[in-house]
């Protein structure tokens, strides 16, 4: 196993009043469990505020989780100090969504890409950086230019080169293509898949765009308000989605054929606040199949078929 996350919780305190007393917690991630094998791509999907980015940040330990464990290559890294983490950061890196905000505008591309190498005490000369730039489809001469001289797609390539610099085996891609135009999206997705094959990388691919996830992921985890609702191999999930939320997500996507317009069936209501989630199933307030039992207590995860798990009483 590349990565095993067990019962991960990340609560952010809400501070109120003069003394900044803790008035409650935003339970951004509330007991999430999943694993990723070597060379595998796990897709993490859900709508804004479901906690998918927080999961990513906990895994690379940009955040210290409230509880739970994160085994990276069989070592628990959830409680390590920043100094101890440095060794792990060589092996896991993150690519961010915003190719405009995540690159320092005052640094040249070479220094952005070379910085990681320098920090890790590796050679960061022109040769090493040039090779990295070529790996991601840029040219060596691009190293002396600044981020603003590049388009969104090219900037995302720079972000990927920076992540690859220290030679990671695991990459977290947090919405890596959602800020890009369709024709550029395809280029970046192809690049990520090529890199995965040549460098045998494992991916945690966080996205809200289901068609992109369907294309790239081997397995998919669907989150809703801090909890995993369904987990399944990709093809099975898209063929037989079980959870009513997964159903709703899929049927909200417009089909690409005007001759087969189904008319959109929007979900009623809005997601509840993660600061004050309702008891029982968190999707109950919007679920078309809700029963009284759904609101009673925590719903357990059920394994319906091999590797296909769902958190819903309909299958309990």
């Amino acid at each position: 196993m590349m990565l095993e996350v067990k019962d991960l919780k990340m609560y952010f305190p809400i501070k109120r009043g003069l003394l900044r007393r803790t008035a409650g917690y935003v339970k951004a991630v509330d007991g999430v469990t999943f694993s990723i094998g070597k060379g595998e791509t796990l897709g993490l999907v859900g709508e804004s505020g479901c906690g998918k980015t927080t999961v990513g940040k906990c895994v690379v330990r940009l955040l210290r989780p409230t509880s739970g464990s994160i085994y990276f290559e069989n070592n628990d890294i959830s409680g390590l100090s920043p100094k101890e983490l440095r060794e792990y950061r060589k092996r896991m890196q993150i690519v961010f969504q915003d190719p405009f905000g995540s690159l320092n505008p005052r640094m040249t591309v070479s220094s952005i890409v070379g910085e990681g190498l320098k920090i890790m005490g590796q050679r960061s000369g022109e040769k090493e950086v040039g090779e990295l730039l070529e790996t991601v489809g840029l040219s060596r001469s691009d190293g002396s230019r600044y981020p603003h001289e590049f388009s969104g797609g090219q900037r995302q390539r720079i972000g990927i080169a920076r992540a690859l610099a220290v030679g990671p085996s695991f990459l977290i891609c947090d919405e890596p293509v959602s800020a890009l135009d369709v024709s550029i999206q395809a280029q970046i997705i192809n690049l990520l898949e090529e890199l995965q094959a040549t460098l045998s990388l494992s991916f945690l691919f966080i996205a809200h765009d289901l068609s992109v996830v369907r294309h790239i992921a081997d397995r998919v985890v669907v989150m809703y308000i801090g909890k995993v609702m369904e987990e399944s191999p990709t093809e099975e999930l898209f063929a037989i989605p079980l959870h009513p939320y997964t159903h709703a997500l899929f049927s909200s996507i417009p089909s690409l054929d005007p001759a087969k317009r189904r008319g959109l069936n929007p979900l009623p209501g809005e997601p509840p606040s993660p600061a004050d989630p309702p008891p029982g199933c968190r999707f109950a307030s919007r679920c078309p199949k809700v029963t009284a039992k759904c609101r009673e207590g925590d719903i357990e995860v059920v394994e319906v078929s091999k590797n296909h798990r769902v958190r819903c009483i309909l299958y309990g």
């Binding site: 992109v212 790239i216 690409l256 979900l267 809005e270």
Partner: protein
Amino acid sequence: MEQVLKIEDLRTHFFTGEGVARAVDGVSVSVGKNRTLGLVGESGCGKSVTALSILRLIPSPPGKIVDGKITLSGKDILSLPEVEMRDIRGKLASMIFQEPMTSLNPVFTIGTQIIEAVRIHTDMGKAEAREIATEYLSKVGIPAPAESMSQYPHQLSGGMKQRVMIAMALCLKPALLIADEPTTALDVTIQAGILRLIKDLQAETGTAVLLITHDLGIIAEMADEVAVMYAGKVVESGPCNSIFSSFVHPYTEGLFKSLPSRTERRRKLYTISGTVPSALRFPPGCRFHTRCPLAIEKCKSEEPPLVDVDSGHRCACWVRAGGSA
């Protein structure tokens, strides 16, 4: 059919320190009553500038509508004095933007903002305007509309704010609704609700809709006609079904083929090579020739005209749409 909006050979240029950006360069489209025109293209293709030109909201300087004609409900928009434009905006044509977060004024309640919009354009009294505002808030699905009137924008979610924007845009029953990426900032389950709402209200009022988006799925769901823009020009246009089932232009083809959902899982995705050229330096001839896999010598020097390839389906391409014209 009665055309609510007719744009003919519109050219909107920006005169910048670095040169002239020909953001919109000879665009002709039209939308009929109760119809939806989908304007598709990637960022920088000129779709938003086209929309802003209709309402004459182009910042000037540096922008200027240098040529063309825009007719809205029989009125020649480009020849009207600015004072009369105020009457047009909001009443004859209104617009909803991509970011509902920044389109509402944070220091006024949503009720105040809708009532203001109603009263500017009509001679209604406050009470009457309040009634209209409440009616439309309930139409767009805001829970407890009368109470919501006294809420401030920050108290609403993104989807709810977009509903308020739609209520404000439609409460005066405009002939034309311009929706510029109305759901791009929203989640899919919320997006479905907003799109459905626009459709339902259109059925009720017969408003013509100009829908601008980069998402082909939304176009497939909503549009009657489609115009595909690239580098300031319409490269292909026609009935929605015809564009989706038999696109002709290599750029349209590239857009469709690069969608992940159309290919087998894990199969390498089709890509359009290169990037969108800057509006300051559009290539001569066909503007797509630098990225086009089919480009021939002629494409580099001569601009292809939009010609009919099927009834109502037009395409501008020397290779695919004949070189006779």
